[in-house]
Subunit: 342 residues, 2 copies
DNA sequence: CTGAAAGCGCTTACAG
DNA sequence: CTGAAAGCGCTTACAG
């Protein structure tokens, strides 16, 4: 292994100087800089990042903590995060918590707080805020990503956080359906996590004077096609069938699509569907799904930016601002005006 | 930050002894061990993994290099890898190459070869074997994961490698359809990557005396629902419509499902479908997909085991064995005997 | 502009 | 069984 010392020796300077040219700091004369660079080239020198990490007290690694990667939403998001982090010179450690729940809680956090990483990107459903607090106390920068609405607002304030404006997402869905002329709308949603979406949807309908019946709200426990299928089957059995369904997630919406088709009804002719998320499958199913797109790239970007600020200590402690990313409507083929005969 | 020195001071021993009790090596008397453990508890000491990494020349981190996470197959696999690595005390760095193709090739590999990680899990479609070779020369352990069949066999031999037996997967699909009584079969597959699956399928049919017509093979360039839809649409337009379709991937199979349904035909009454992969969606679509399951867990497990051996230098250089993981048939509702009137 | 030196927090032979 | 010491490969004030 060729080290700084080897380079220094060949270039006939001290390691401090080599370090300076590599990091572009300190004043180095043009002449010795050239000499050092030549030596680096000749020896094929690559800095040892572990040694650098120890000396600097910073490793340029982040951990992304997710519940699971088996939901397209999260895996697309993870890929996005990794790309953005990469561009800024960070590596990202992947941490998935779902399958590990049986092991000692906190064990994971301990390993992560052992100076290996500079910061933590935390999505909800993984660690508790109390655990996050502990991580911060051990000197880790922490940013909250997504869906922490259920938590105590006082605690949330302790952290920088980014999220989608999901209330607004619900409103957008309602506005679209109202504009098409629907009045009998139903909702299938994952509870309790998707409450904001429901509230937004309800508010959107309300502003057009439409109410949402209690029996036209179907709860699911997971964001799967299957649960969407079942929930929709229940809706189709209603005495007054809805003309439009808002699904709080694209997976649920796809399940709704299947259920409706299997019941010999047509989307959007008989029933319209609006999803939420705009995952990769949304545009591929048939008919392509009208959905509320959540700009993952933007969320990932802002989150990493905030984390970087926290790492560099620019963030005034205890006064963390929270940011919301705005969703937007993507109209495809699963929505249309309600059938005339209803 | 509390360090080894602090612990040593409190326990009134030297750092070597503290290190020994933490790592459970060297003989330490029961009495001092207790004292050291008490000191660790009292101070809340956590070893600095970066310092340890530098001293040991090993970081207990792996990198998983994937083309993308946006295919459920890969994201499920990644989650599996992370879990297994975790249990063995490794962290995994996520590296996705798809969106980075425009940046300088090899740049990524350079960063990864900077002593940050002990080993590389490489799937195909990411780095070239030449680049992998360079990584090995820089002292990185490398294991090849999946789908390297297109590469030069002489080069492959340089690496330990695991893969699914995809020829056998194709055979299984054929055997199942033959057993149900199908004789007019079609294939949709991603080319050129899925050649082994096709060959296996063909061989399976051949052993029952059935041939595969050239026009009943549809190529796709990507594993997406949409491409499966289009390929199937083409098959449905054939003068002699097939009674069964083998899709080389579940996403394609799901696309086939949609296409058939949209053409007012029924699965499996009119046409049977067999997928390949058994991703999370396979059981959720309607009808649930009969498919050839690729045991990802087993592949992940073996791969990490091989990598660990390579890291620990137990693997004799240049004599790497390759392992194949056997797939199996999962029968669900998308296959049935062919319709009687055909 | 360059060098000599201490330090980051561990581990690992080697004495005793 | 325990200690004294060197070493892992960098970075960072501080002199000069």
């Amino acid at each position: 292994m060729v080290t700084l010392v080897d380079v220094a020796r060949l270039a006939m300077v001290t390691t401090a100087t080599v370090s300076n040219v590599i990091n572009g700091k300190g004043a180095v004369s043009e002449k010795t800089r050239k000499r050092v660079e030549a030596a680096i080239q000749e020896l094929g020198y690559r800095p040892n990042l572990v040694a650098r990490g120890l000396a600097r007290g910073r490793t340029n690694m982040l951990a992304l903590v997710l519940h699971t990667l088996s939901n397209p939403f999260y895996s697309e998001f993870a890929e996005e995060v990794e790309l953005i982090a990469w561009k800024r010179g960070y590596h990202v450690l992947l941490c998935t918590t779902l399958q590990k729940e049986l092991t000692i809680p906190g064990h994971m956090l301990e390993r992560l707080s052992s100076r290996l990483i500079d910061g933590l990107l935390l999505t909800s459903g993984t660690f508790s805020l109390k655990e996050a607090q502990q991580a911060m106390e051990r000197g880790l920068a922490v940013v909250l990503y997504m869906d922490w609405e259920g938590a105590d607002p006082e605690q949330i304030k302790q952290f920088p956080a980014v999220d989608f404006d999901l209330f607004s997402a619900g409103e957008l869905a309602a506005a679209h359906l109202v504009e098409l002329g629907h009045r009998r709308c139903a909702v299938i949603l994952e509870m309790p996590n998707h409450l904001r979406r429901l509230n937004g949807f309800r508010a959107g309908l309300a502003s057009a004077g439409i109410e949402l019946d209690a029996d036209s709200i179907q709860h699911c426990s997971k964001d799967t096609i299957q649960q969407g299928y079942q929930a929709t089957t229940a809706l189709l059995a209603l005495p007054r069938r809805p003309t439009a369904i808002f699904a709080s997630n694209d997976m649920l919406a796809i399940g709704a699509l299947h259920a409706i088709t299997d019941h010999e009804l047509r989307v959007p002719d008989d029933i319209s569907i609006v999803g939420l998320d705009d995952n990769l499958m949304a545009s591929q199913v048939s008919p392509a799904l009208t959905t509320i797109a959540l700009p993952k790239h933007e969320l990932a970007h802002i989150g990493i930016e905030m984390l970087q600020q926290a790492i560099e200590g620019e963030e005034p402690v205890g006064v963390h601002h929270h940011r919301l990313v705005q969703p937007h409507l993507v109209v495809r083929r699963s929505t249309a005006p309600p059938p005339p005969d209803v």
